[in-house]
């Protein structure tokens, strides 16, 4: 029988325990590294939920695909074939250049570069925390992924892996305001750091002295420093420079090259062991 005034733990005590546990969790999550297994299994716990939430979108896009007309498909096919022809021409050149580069490096006596291991991943469209920029992908620890791997799309750098579950993982985008990317300017090899400010189409260069040689339209590529991003992938284009001599640093803004608001297919990269040294 259920008594109306049953003796139970008081609400205040419950709240106290809950708040205490939450604070322990918050600090544990923020200030400790490691615990890889615990983190992975916790993230795996919600993977089914993410796949279920993604289902309606999949169904919509499937039905949208089946409603494509024959002409649309034909023209899309044509465009893709043209693009592929152009790219395969570039690949032929690329292979020649790689060989040449190897020879030149051998002549210089520096270590050879090897291609990175990579894997294709798809973005699951689920809602994420509104205070940060992240996406969820359909690969995880089962595919060999681990935290801090670089993620790119067909245009440029997208971000890096944070929370990895066994079948899903999260990509922290370069525009998140806790993310910073070590880059160099392609034109003159000046190294700098570009950080997110929480807007999906703006990045900011941090601590730029007034004397730095930077112009609007300069392309920033990853510098390979920092041990997360392999060298040479395009990150952003400089869009705005404000040099106010009254301020200690110039304000330099850039626009990400990857279209971060409409990413669908991504490539996850592994770092070469050689580059880590």
């Amino acid at each position: 029988m259920k008594l109306m005034f049953e003796k139970t733990v008081s609400l205040q005590l419950r709240l106290f325990v809950a708040v205490l546990l939450s604070i322990v969790l918050i600090f544990g999550d923020k200030y400790t590294q490691g615990g890889e297994n615990i983190r992975t299994s916790l993230n795996t716990l919600v993977s089914p939920l993410i796949y279920v939430a993604n289902l309606p979108y999949e169904i919509f896009s499937l039905s949208a695909k089946s409603l494509h007309t024959r002409e649309q498909l034909l023209s899309e096919n044509e465009a893709l074939k043209k693009k592929q022809a152009l790219q395969s021409e570039q690949i032929q050149q690329y292979e020649f250049l790689v060989k040449e580069n190897k020879k030149l490096r051998a002549l210089l006596g520096s270590s050879a570069k090897h291609p990175n291991r990579k894997i294709i991943a798809q973005v699951l469209s689920v809602h994420s925390n509104p205070y940060s920029h992240q996406v969820v992908i359909n690969r995880g620890a089962n595919d060999g992924l681990s935290e801090n791997q670089a993620v790119i799309d067909d245009m440029g750098v997208v971000g890096q892996l944070t929370k990895v579950g066994s079948t899903t993982s999260r990509v922290l985008l370069i525009t998140d305001n806790t993310h910073a990317t070590p880059v160099r300017i392609l034109r003159n090899d000046v190294r700098t750091v570009v950080e997110g400010i929480g807007k999906i189409d703006v990045l900011k260069l941090s601590h730029v002295p007034h004397s730095l040689d930077v112009r609007i339209g300069d392309v920033l590529v990853t510098s390979g420093l920092g041990g997360t991003f392999p060298e040479g992938y395009p990150v952003a284009v400089i869009t705005e420079i404000t040099r106010d001599e009254g301020q200690p640093f110039s304000q330099v803004f850039a626009e990400p090259i990857a279209q971060l608001d409409r990413i669908r297919l991504l490539v996850v990269l592994w770092l070469n062991q050689l580059e880590l040294i």
Partner: protein, 159 residues
């Protein structure tokens, strides 16, 4: 019998979780009501002996994991909100529906301000008024959530 009732409550929370994670068009994204919190609030008002702070904490942790926020943020804020509703359930139950929805708006504001404050401390975000849109849509949704879940509760005789 008790297991069946807990299962039915769990099903409603599961649906709320799916609604909270489902993709919305980009322009509607800032207006998404906090479905999970609304459902938890309803159950904590209707059946405070079945569901209160403990459940809210666990569901908050699930939300943290599923939306990728720092662990513990939603656990903390959900627990505080459910504490407020569960400790005043007898008063709140007696209000009319629109008065309830105003009160719920107040609790949702509390929730979002706590969320913002924690995220300001953890991620360094700055306040923008559009973080508070879900309060308004949540107030409007409360009426429907309340009526729907009351029907659900009465139909399956969850006590």
């Amino acid at each position: 019998m008790i297991n069946r009732q807990m299962l039915l409550i769990a099903v409603s929370i599961f649906f709320a979780l799916v609604m909270a994670l489902m993709p919305l068009p980009f322009s509607l994204e800032p207006f998404r009501p906090d479905w999970v919190l609304l459902v938890l609030m309803y159950w904590s008002l209707a059946l405070p002996h079945r569901l209160n702070i403990g459940t809210a904490w666990v569901v908050g942790l699930l939300i943290d994991l599923a939306t990728g926020s720092s662990l513990g943020v939603n656990s903390l804020t959900y627990s505080v909100c459910i504490f407020v509703t569960a400790s005043n359930f007898q008063k709140i139950r007696n209000f009319s529906l629109w008065q309830q929805s105003l009160l719920i708006g107040l609790f949702l504001t509390l929730y979002h301000l706590m969320q913002f404050w924690l995220n300001h401390f953890l991620l360094g975000v700055y306040f923008s008024p559009h973080y508070l849109w879900p309060v308004l849509t949540g107030m409007l949704s409360w009426i429907w959530v309340f009526l729907l879940l009351r029907k659900y509760r009465r139909h399956f005789r969850i006590r």
